[in-house]
Amino acid sequence: MIQTPILKPGPRQDGPHPDHAAAGRPQPSAPVVRIENLVKRYGAYVALHEIGFELKSGEVVAIIGPSGSGKSTLLRCVNQLEQPDGGCITVAGQRFEGGKEHSRAALDTLRRTVGMVFQSFNLFPHMTILRNVSIAQERVAGRSRKDAEDRAMHLLARVGLADKAGQYPARCSGGQQQRIAIARALALDPQIMLFDEPTSALDPELGLEVLAVMRELAESGMTMIVVTHEMRFAENVSDRVVVMADGRVIEEGPSRELMRDPKTERTQRFLHAVRDR
């Protein structure tokens, strides 16, 4: 059902930027993201209760669960868009303890290691599409404008949108905007990509073109955490599924197994409800 491979399959062409070598790319089997006892509160409300799971390099994990269960909050804690109140998140060997301030340098490294794609795209409307994808390379990675634009053009070609480079985001469909947002997130050569319901704001047929890009990205070996309501993506593309409810992980396991034969009654009810829609 997901057709038109937009990314070229095969070995990844955008391996980690040389700068990352110093940070030490973890061994294939070592966890690249480790979340331990993660707690996040909003005032008295506890959004995340002692969450824990691990992600190996190259693994794709889908997070599913009812709305309000804390999926976005969890994802946003991984790149410190939200500051956790307790527990610890280790990303590519760097520990971020909850309730502590982190140095500017640690956060900079984190954000170059982790790319994020939002439900509402959040492209910069006042910049051309090319600029959307090139600007962080110049400002954050210190690449020359020419290098940044070459790389941006390469990424836009990979998501099938090289011909749009000079236009503004408002001229693009939602599916195109989300593909550009993926290119923007890839521009700093992250090791890990976070997706927060990347297709929820899209009509189904536009969602497909985004899912196709994500699928190819997964096949190219990218480590991914994907919050999604696309059950087929969770089942067919992700390696593992984590089910959340009320700020807790209620079940996790290999995706095919979990999706076909959920153990907890809560997961069964949830899967039933989304599949009926």
Partner: protein
């Protein structure tokens, strides 16, 4: 009727001199006041509490004090402390302070109208706070603020007429002095009003057209 036209023709150059002063004071007040407004808007949103409070107090004083009082203060008030300003400098200082206070609110509203997701996207791609502001929030927020800033600029132009109180030879003062020399207040005040309108009405139309165009361009 032709007699009035003749009277107007005789004194128009005097009023045009005044209009020029009004426009200069407006331009200088805006050139100083709007950057001041931007600084105050950023300070009001600053992390540091003392900075925030100082900026808030400055804004409230600037907005709470009538422009006429500010003018009297910079001209007569400061003079009594030994700092003597020319009426031109006093006018610019007072109106720039007023502009800074009011436009800080306009600019702050513009910055706050930039969706949260824009800053989050900027943070997620590793932008420093400075770059977030410079490349993402300011370009969008200031664009939102342009129409109200232009609207405010028209008000500042009109309020230069208050500067008659500090003997600045702007349009209104010139009209008064012509009136008191010729005892013909009515026709000269009408001419002054027409000159104000000749600037303000086209400017207002321009602003609303610009507002439309900016609306169409974004999303």
């Amino acid at each position: 009727m032709s007699e009035i036209l003749e009277f107007w023709g005789e004194w128009l150059p005097t009023l045009l001199d005044g209009l020029l002063v009004s426009l200069k004071v407006t331009a200088a007040s805006l050139a100083l006041g709007i950057p001041l407004g931007l600084v105050l808007a950023l300070a009001v949103k600053a992390k540091s509490a003392p900075l925030r409070i100082a900026a808030l107090i400055a804004v409230e004083i600037g907005r709470g004090t009538p422009a006429l009082v500010l003018l009297q203060f910079t001209y007569f008030g400061l003079a009594s402390t030994g700092l003597t300003l020319s009426s031109y400098a006093a006018a610019v200082a007072a109106l720039a302070a007023c502009t800074g206070a009011y436009t800080s609110e306009i600019i702050r509203a513009g910055l706050e109208a930039v969706p949260q997701g824009q800053s989050e996207a900027a943070i997620a791609i590793g932008f420093s706070r400075m770059d977030q502001l410079r490349y993402v929030v300011l370009p969008q927020g200031l664009r939102i603020a342009v129409p109200p800033l232009l609207g405010f600029s028209i008000l500042i132009f009109q309020s230069t007429s208050l500067c008659y109180a500090i003997a600045l030879p702007e349009l209104m003062s010139q009209a008064y002095s012509v009136g008191s020399n010729t005892f013909r207040y009515m026709p000269i005040l009408i001419l002054a009003g027409l000159l104000f309108a000749a600037i303000c009405i086209p400017a207002t139309l321009l602003v609303s057209r610009l507002e439309h165009r900016l609306d169409r361009h974004t999303r």
